[in-house]
C-alpha cells in the first residue's frame, strides 16, 4: 500500500508572547517552519515549548504577535479550523470508543460517507501496524499501540501539519528508540510538515531536520543538529546539548588561559571582549586528551576519580589540582592503551574549546 502524500504547510510565528497569570511562558518568539520539515522544539520543562506547540495548534491563544499556517493567519484558540493533526502527550484517546472509532473520528465529525471512513480507517490501521485491533478499546492496548492509534487518528483527515507533544515521553526506552526511527521514516514517506516537542536532546538530535532550542520562554537557537551541537549560539545551548566541561579563564591575545592551559577557539574574537577580559571555556568530554606524562606546556595535572567503562565510549571522571572535576570520554582502544586505574595521576590536554564571555547563565534544567 502506498501512503498518501499530504499537502504541506509552513508555519510563520512572529513576536508571539503568552503569559499565564504572572508566569511568562513565551517572550516575543519568532519562528519559521518550512513546509515538509521535521522540526523539534527542545528545551527544559517550563521553557515554553509545549505552549508554543499548543498556540500553533490553536489550543491556546497568544497575547501578542501572529501565527500563520500555510499563509493563513490563525486567531488563536480555534483548534480544528485549520488542517492540523495533534498527538497529545498521553495520547488522549477516546476511551469509550474502539480503535477503529478513534481513528475514524475526524471523518465522522465532518460527516464523510461510511464506506469512505471504513476504507480510510482500514488503510491507516495497516499503515500503523494495528491490524486485528479494530474492536479493542484503548485500555486494552500497549503503550506503543496507543501511541500509533493516536498518530493514525491525527492523520486520518490528511492534515497539512502534524504536531506532537512529547510523543515518546510515556514509553519505555526500547519502544521509544524504535518509534523514533519509525517517526522519521513516516515523515519521509508522508512528507507532512511535522513539529514535535521534546526535552530529550538525543531524541531531537536523532530525528529532526532542524532543532529549535528553547529556554525560559525564548528561542535560544534554531539550526540543524550539527549546527546546534557543533556551533552552539550561547552557553545555554552548549550546556543543554550533551555533557560539557567548563573552565574559567582570562583572554590573552587569541587564546584563553585557564590555569596552566592555553585554549584556542576560532571564534574567540567575535564572542568575547579583548585581552584581559574574563571568559568561560567549554570543552566537550571527547575533546580532551589524556596523557600519562606531561607532553606539552598546555596540560593540566589531574587524578582519576571514577571510571565508567559501560557504553561505546569509556567515561572517566578526574579531579584537577584545583579541585575541579572534569569529565573525559575516551574510545575503548585509547582507554585500553592508557590502562587507567583509580587515583592515577595523569595530564589533560584539551584539543578544542568553545569560549563565551563570563556572564550570568540564566536558565534552569
Amino acid at each position: 500500500m502506498t501512503p498518501r502524500h499530504h499537502t504541506q504547510a509552513g508555519i510563520r510565528v512572529r513576536a508571539v508572547s503568552r503569559s499565564f497569570g504572572g508566569f511568562q511562558a513565551l517572550r516575543d518568539v519568532d519562528l519559521d517552519v518550512r513546509s515538509g520539515e521535521l522540526i523539534a522544539l527542545l528545551g527544559p520543562s517550563g521553557s515554553g515549548k509545549t505552549t508554543l506547540l499548543r498556540i500553533i495548534a490553536g489550543l491556546e491563544s497568544h497575547d501578542t504577535g501572529s501565527v500563520e499556517i500555510a499563509g493563513r493567519e490563525t486567531t488563536g484558540a480555534d483548534a480544528g479550523a485549520h488542517g492540523i493533526g495533534f498527538v497529545f502527550q498521553h495520547y488522549a484517546l477516546f476511551k469509550h470508543m474502539t480503535v477503529a472509532d478513534n481513528i475514524g473520528f475526524a471523518l465522522r465529525m465532518r460527516k464523510a460517507k461510511k464506506t469512505l471512513i471504513a476504507t480510510r480507517v482500514a488503510e491507516l490501521m495497516a499503515l500503523f501496524r494495528l491490524d486485528g485491533l479494530a474492536a479493542r478499546y484503548p485500555d486494552e492496548l500497549s503503550g506503543g499501540q496507543r501511541q500509533r492509534v493516536a498518530l493514525a487518528r491525527a492523520l486520518a483527515s490528511e492534515p497539512e501539519l502534524l504536531l506532537l507533544d512529547e510523543p515518546f515521553g510515556a514509553l519505555d526506552a526500547r519502544v521509544r528508540q524504535e518509534l523514533r526511527r519509525w517517526l522519521r521514516r513516516l515523515h519521509d514517506d508522508l512528507g507532512v510538515t511535522t513539529v514535535f516537542v521534546t526535552h530529550d536532546q538525543e531524541e531531537a538530535l536523532e530525528v529532526a531536520d532542524r532543532i529549535v532550542v528553547m529556554n525560559a520562554g525564548r528561542i535560544e537557537q534554531v539550526g540543524t543538529p550539527e549546527e546546534v551541537f557543533g556551533n552552539p549560539a550561547n552557553e545555554f545551548v552548549m550546556t543543554f546539548l550533551g555533557n560539557v566541561n567548563v573552565f574559567h579563564g582570562r583572554v590573552e591575545e587569541d587564546r584563553i588561559c585557564v590555569g596552566g592551559l592555553a585554549l584556542t577557539d576560532p571564534q574567540l574574537a567575535t564572542r568575547v571582549g579583548g585581552p584581559g577580559s574574563v571568559a568561560k571555556a567549554y570543552v566537550r568530554p571527547y575533546d580532551i586528551e589524556v596523557e600519562p606524562q606531561r607532553s606539552s606546556e598546555s596540560a593540566v595535572a589531574a587524578t582519576v576519580a571514577f571510571i565508567n567503562p559501560v557504553g561505546s565510549n569509556v567515561k572517566v571522571e578526574l579531579v584537577t589540582a584545583d579541585g575541579e572535576s572534569v569529565l573525559v570520554e575516551l574510545d575503548r582502544e585509547r582507554h585500553r592503551g592508557l590502562g587507567l586505574v583509580r587515583d592515577q595521576r595523569v595530564y589533560l590536554r584539551p584539543r578544542a574549546a568553545t569560549v563565551f564571555p563570563n556572564e550570568g547563565l540564566d536558565y534552569s534544567i
Binding site: A79, F86, H90, A106, A154, A156
Partner: protein
C-alpha cells in the same frame, strides 16, 4: 510480603468486629426490621388497605412528581453548571461552586422558610405572583422547588469532580480533529461523564424521596392536596395510625435499600470506567 500489625489486629480484632456488628444491628438492622414488623402488625390485608387509601395514593403521586422534577432539573442543571465551572472561563464560576454547598449547609427547614419569604403571600414576589395567578407556596410548584433546592448539589458535584479528574485532553483532541463544540460535548463529554450523572441521579432520587423539612414548610401539608409520602407518614404516626404510617414507610425503606445497592454497583462500574482513563 510482610504485614505490619495495625490497630484492630491481633487480640483486639474480634472485639472491634463484635462492637461494629452489634452497633450495626442496633442502629440499622433492628430499626429496619421493625418497619416490616409494624407494617404487617395487623396482617397483610390491613397493610394493603392502608396503602390503597386516596390520601396515600395522592401522597405517592406527589412524591413521584417531586422526585421526577428534581431528577429532570438537576441532571440538566448539574451537567451545565459542572461544565461551566470546569471547562469555561465564565465569570462567576466560584459563585456557582459556593452556591452548590448552600443546600448542604443550610437546614432544609430554613431553606423552606427562605422560599416562603420570597414567594409566600407576604413574600417579596408574593403580590406579583398573585396578580399573575401563579401559586408556588402551598402547591405543587412549591414542593418541586423545595425538592430541587435540597438536591441541587448531588449531580453537579459528582460531575465537577469527574471533569476535574479526567482533564480536558480528550475534548481538546476532539477539537483538533475538527469536532465543533456541540459535537465535542455530545460525543466526548457526555459519554465520559455518564456514570457521574447516573450516580448523582441516584443520590438525588434518594434525597428527593425522603425530603421532609423544606417540603413541609413550603407545601403547607394539606392532606390529599400537598402532602408527600414523608409528610403523610409523619401525620399518620402522630395520629396513632401506626399501621398506616409503617405501611407507607415500607416502600420508602425498600427504595432506600435499592438506592444503596444501585449506588454501590455504580461506584464499582464508575471505578472500572475511571481506570480506563489512565
Amino acid at each position: 510480603m510482610a504485614r505490619r500489625s495495625r490497630p484492630g489486629e491481633g487480640a483486639a480484632r474480634p472485639v472491634v468486629i463484635g462492637v461494629a456488628v452489634a452497633w450495626l444491628a442496633v442502629a440499622l438492622a433492628l430499626p429496619f426490621a421493625s418497619v416490616f414488623v409494624a407494617a404487617f402488625a395487623d396482617g397483610v390485608p390491613a397493610f394493603f388497605a392502608a396503602l390503597s387509601t386516596p390520601e396515600v395514593r395522592h401522597a405517592a403521586l406527589l412524591t413521584c412528581l417531586a422526585v421526577l422534577s428534581a431528577l429532570g432539573f438537576n441532571v440538566v442543571f448539574g451537567v451545565v453548571a459542572a461544565y461551566a465551572v470546569e471547562r469555561t472561563r465564565l465569570p462567576g464560576r466560584g459563585v456557582i461552586l459556593t452556591l452548590l454547598d448552600l443546600p448542604i449547609a443550610v437546614s432544609p427547614v430554613v431553606a423552606g422558610l427562605m422560599f416562603l419569604l420570597l414567594y409566600g403571600r407576604q413574600g417579596w414576589f408574593g403580590p406579583l405572583l398573585e396578580t399573575m395567578d401563579v401559586r408556588i407556596v402551598f402547591a405543587l410548584p412549591g414542593i418541586m422547588l423545595a425538592t430541587i433546592f435540597v438536591t441541587l448539589p448531588f449531580v453537579a458535584k459528582e460531575v465537577v469532580a469527574l471533569l476535574r479528574e479526567i482533564g480536558p485532553a480528550e475534548e481538546e483532541a476532539a477539537r483538533t480533529l475538527g469536532a465543533s463544540k456541540a459535537q465535542t460535548f455530545l460525543h466526548i463529554v457526555l459519554p465520559n461523564i455518564r456514570w457521574a450523572v447516573f450516580y448523582g441521579s441516584i443520590l438525588t432520587a434518594a434525597r428527593a424521596l425522603g425530603e421532609f423539612g423544606a417540603v413541609s414548610v413550603l407545601s403547607g401539608n394539606l392532606i390529599g392536596k400537598t402532602q408527600t409520602m414523608p409528610l403523610y407518614i409523619e401525620q399518620a404516626y402522630v395520629n396513632y395510625q401506626t399501621t398506616a404510617a409503617f405501611a407507607a414507610a415500607l416502600p420508602l425503606t425498600l427504595l432506600a435499600v435499592l438506592t444503596i445497592v444501585a449506588q454501590k454497583a455504580l461506584a464499582r462500574l464508575g471505578r472500572r470506567n475511571g481506570k480506563e482513563s489512565r
